[in-house]
Every structure is written in structure tokens, then in C-alpha cells.
Symmetry: C2
Subunit: 358 residues, 2 copies
Amino acid sequence: MKKLQEIAEEISRNTGVVTSAKDVEKILSASASTNHFWEIITLSQKPFPVVAEAVEILRKEGFVAVTEEKEIKFTEKGMEYLKEQNIFPKRTYTCPHCEGRGINLSLLSDLIKKFDEVTEDRPKAISDYDQGFVTTNTTIARIALMAERGDLEGKKLFVLGDDDLVSIAAGLSQMPKEIVVLEIDDRLVDYINRKAKELNLPIEAMKYDFRDKLPEKYIGYFDTFITDPPETVDALELTIGRGISTLKGEGCAGYFGVTLIEASLEKWNIFQQILTSKFKVAITDIIYDFSHYVNWDYLLTTVGKPYDFVQVEPKLNWYRSSMYRIETLKDSKGIENVYKPVEIYVDEEAIIYKGEKK
Amino acid sequence: MKKLQEIAEEISRNTGVVTSAKDVEKILSASASTNHFWEIITLSQKPFPVVAEAVEILRKEGFVAVTEEKEIKFTEKGMEYLKEQNIFPKRTYTCPHCEGRGINLSLLSDLIKKFDEVTEDRPKAISDYDQGFVTTNTTIARIALMAERGDLEGKKLFVLGDDDLVSIAAGLSQMPKEIVVLEIDDRLVDYINRKAKELNLPIEAMKYDFRDKLPEKYIGYFDTFITDPPETVDALELTIGRGISTLKGEGCAGYFGVTLIEASLEKWNIFQQILTSKFKVAITDIIYDFSHYVNWDYLLTTVGKPYDFVQVEPKLNWYRSSMYRIETLKDSKGIENVYKPVEIYVDEEAIIYKGEKK
């Protein structure tokens, strides 16, 4: 029977993403506790192409079968394999009250209600800019987190890209002194400015492509930034580097989400080296599964075409990211404020199908 | 009136710990929401000497007064200063159900009960080894966290130093295949081995000083390690480097606590550089205030002698640490298995009073 290590090597070869025997074990463990493809990703927290390829291999080996409803079920042969490999179904101990974020949202129920009312007519997520916004609970939890850490009340907040409408939630909280949004999507820029005007919120949104130079006046201007960056190494470095360059000096904070679904731990390590050695910031928090994304309409038309079993509507908000908080130190520095051309959205760990691959 | 920056510089000079205006702001914000010295530390999460020195300066400036009960109260002058500096009382949004850890302990209530029964006669924390054990909820949350991440069930667990008795909790959970404890305190070694024998748990404890070479057979042997290291940079590097060297290869995990009370963010940054660049591991989680320590008997006899206002019994489990989880990658490596002499417990950020300072 195939060894975990052999399966891992086959996945690495077929996807170009470094995969270990333990990664395979985690995918098997997740598959042993759900039949739903998208939940296997949520539970295993491995890159999309890795999970899809793993399931494909397990199917070829006869360890799992895919039903007509595209449920993924272990066969007897597969069950034996689990036992033999000493692999157990994934356990879950997530606090049901805070969805594992550790934050008490009941103190902010008015803000939740108000935000939902105000943003009912928000623009839909579109694939042009790799959009996909988070749940209201996620947005408000971000506000609570920033407020608790002393990064929001009376502060100047910079939101780099805002399909999540964090700026509106922050404005409604009445905590920040000033909020600036730079965003590439005209629809969102207009929407945020209109809401700000209607509701008299201290928000200004402007069109901006993060490859461009930042407006000079914002360098060293803010107390806090928040962003949800695309996940190529270049895009991570550029967005967070720009964010840091907008901060006033030491003791300021940056917040951003990074997934394990479009970024492997190898990529996390490289990015963490950049954060700690090049930017010289301290990582103060990495909160697992903090951000839950509302399923976006364009998912099944853009995703993993080679695998038929992924063509099933997600039953849960399966796409999650970890929340990073960084804090600037005496010697922290961001990147130079010049135009930087980078590949933003796509590398071998991305979820969007690239025809030329495989 | 003194600027925040001036106060920060005075603290840096008097303590030797780099302190920023924002640090001072956080201490003021914490002081504005509690009168209790130890809670100011918990809420501001700044190094003990920094908080103590800050309060001393605020007192000298007439911003706070210390009552006979050693409560720290803002004066009118101090209130004006807060307003002028745009500083607000610290907000707290911690989930009350999970104490902010994000973990549902109700699924493990039997284990909690059993652990408390079994360890009722545990050895007291003593200052010789900088001991101070965590609450039962913390210990069981560690078990849940390791189990959820797939690092416990069917695995070999290494516990480096165990005044928290994590080994016994892990044994009682019946999840690990094998548990090895290396511990410097004979009382604990004997206690853990006795309990293991009585309860038929797969635990072996041995006496060990972490400056010594590890038993060769444990290099590359374990799936998971957990430790609660002393917080000098050298001690952090040595304990975690040894921990990593005991792991089997990629996809293995290490768990450990680091405080902001005995380690500044400058130190966090240096340590994170070591983790990501030297050891080449990925930091997957940093969970704020995960570990709560039971107040230890020797606190007031060893702590901050120069400040009279610290001589007050803590009203809460004020000493907290963040939980780090790291995961090994393809190129991860720990440190060479040789004897390393290092200063373990004391540097300028430590809480224990050193007569020669100030």
C-alpha cells in the first residue's frame, strides 16, 4: 500500500506545492470527519490544489469514493489504511460563542445590527480583483480586536483595499478620528464615499492600485493599518511593506489576514522572515480562522477545473484566514514609496484555475 | 506638562528596557480602567519593570496617587492629562466562555475534573527554578489545542520542563502514544513518575537541565513538543532549538508560551527572527493571553523591591502568556546537541528583583 510519503511526493510533483507526509495525514484526518469537499479544506487548512490532488489520489487508490452528490466517502480499504497509518478523525474544540476568535461580540450587537442595515446594498464580490468579503461577525470582530489593543479609539486608520467595508464598521463604531481607504475598485470607492457622506462618518476613500506609489502625505501618517492582501509572496511583501510605511513610528499596529488555503507554510515562513528581519516588526498575534469569508458567486466557475468533485456548492463558509497583528519597533521600516510591478493574484498555491497547469 | 515621549525616555533610562510613547500610552490607558497594580500589567501587557517605573513617574508627576490600600488612582491633573493626550480607558472584549482562547472546554469537562482530582497534591511552585504553574483551564486548553491541530492523538509528545503537569493531563486524555518529560526539579520528576505508575499512564519523567545535552535517543524522535521557557533570548533560543531537534521532521509541531510581561516586543522580534530564519520553522499561531498562571507564593518577596505600590496581593491571575505554535518545514533545524551554558532566568526585563539594578 502507498506510503503517506509517496502520496506527498506525488502531490508535490503534480501541484508544484511542497507537501509533507504530515500534510497528507491532516487531509486524511479531515476527510475522515466530513464528506464535504470544502469542509475538508477548512478542517485540514492545506492549500486548495494540495487538497484537491490528495483527494484525487485517494480516489485512484480506492481509499475514497465520490458519490453522485459529490460526497467523498472512505471505502473499507480506506478505513483500513487510516487504521494502519494510525490516523484519527479530526477533532474540533472551537468555542461556539466566539467562533474561536476569543472575542465577545455581544458587547457590540448594536454595531452588528447597524452595519448590516447600512451595508445591505453593498457591491457584489467580483473576480477581477480577487474579491470575496468576510462575514459581518468577522468585520465587527476586527473592530473589537483593534479597539481592545488600543489601535482604534482616537486613532488614524488606514484601510488598504476594502471590499470587507471595515472602514464603514470602524466609522459606525465612532472610535477612529480619521479613516482613509485606498481601493482599486471604483464601485467600492464610490459606495464607501456615498455612505460616509450619508452617515457623516470620518472616512475618505480614493482609487488606488497598490502597485502604485502611495500619496506622499500618507507616509508616516497613520496609527494603524488593516488589509486583506493577495497571497503571492511579492503581493504580501508589497502590501504590508506599504502599510508599515504609512505608520507614524514605533508602537503602531498592522492587521491583515493570511490563509493556509492559498499560502503554504513554506510561504508563511518566507513572509515571516520578511516581517521580522527586513521590516523589523514584531508579530504579536496570529489568530487561527479569525476571518470567515462569505461564499462568492464566481467560485465554481473559476476553481480547480481538473477535479469534478470540487464542483459542489459549499455548505459552509469554508474559506478562512488567520489574523496577523504586527507592531512596529524602534527600527521598523516599510518599503520605499515607488511604483512596484508585481504579479498580484496567482501562483501555484492559488485557488483560481490556470489553464496551463497540469 | 511632560510629553509621553519624555516619560518613555525616562523609563528606558531607568529600566534599560526600550520603551516607546505608545507603550506609555497603553499603560495610561490600562491605569484608567483599573486601580489595581497587577491588573495594570495584565491590561497593558508591558514588561513588569516598565509598568512599575511608569506608575512611579506618574506618581511623581502628580497624575496618579497611591492610596493606603495601594490602589492607584488618577488625580484631576492626571485626568486632564489623559484628555489632553487623547487617551481612553482600555476596552476589553474577551469572550467570557473561553477566556479568549477560542477553545470549547465544555467538551473536556471530565478531563478537567479528573486532572484536578489527580493533581490535588502537586508540588508547590518554588523560586529556585522560576516556577509558577498555570490554571487547570489553561492546561486542558493546551491539550485541546494540540489535539485539534492533529499533534496529540496517536503521537509521541515531549514535555520540556513540566511544573504545569501537562504530561499528566495528556496522559489522562488517553490520546498520546508516548509522553516523555525532562525536568530539572526532582520533586516533579518523582511526582510525575509516581502518578504515571498509579494511573497506568504512558509517561516517563527524567531529571534534566536544559543546558545539558539531550539523551541522544530523543533526537528526531517526537511528533510534538511543549515547553514554557524562561524568557532571556538565550534561554528561548536554547529551549526551542532543543525542542525542534527532538522532532521527527517536517510537519511536526512545537508549543510554548512567551509573555509580554518579562519579554519586550524587541525581544519577541529577535526571537521571531531566530525561529523563522535560523530554525526555519513557520509560526502558525500566537494566541494572546492563552496561559493564565496561578499566583505563586514567593511573588511579593522577590519582586520589584524599589516600588512600594507593588506590595499588594494580586486580585487576579495577572501573569499571562501568549501561546506560540510552530510547525517544522522541509529545511527546519534545531540546535546542535551539546552542552550550552547560558544565563537562564534573569535579564533587564525580568520580574525578579536584582539588587544591583537602579
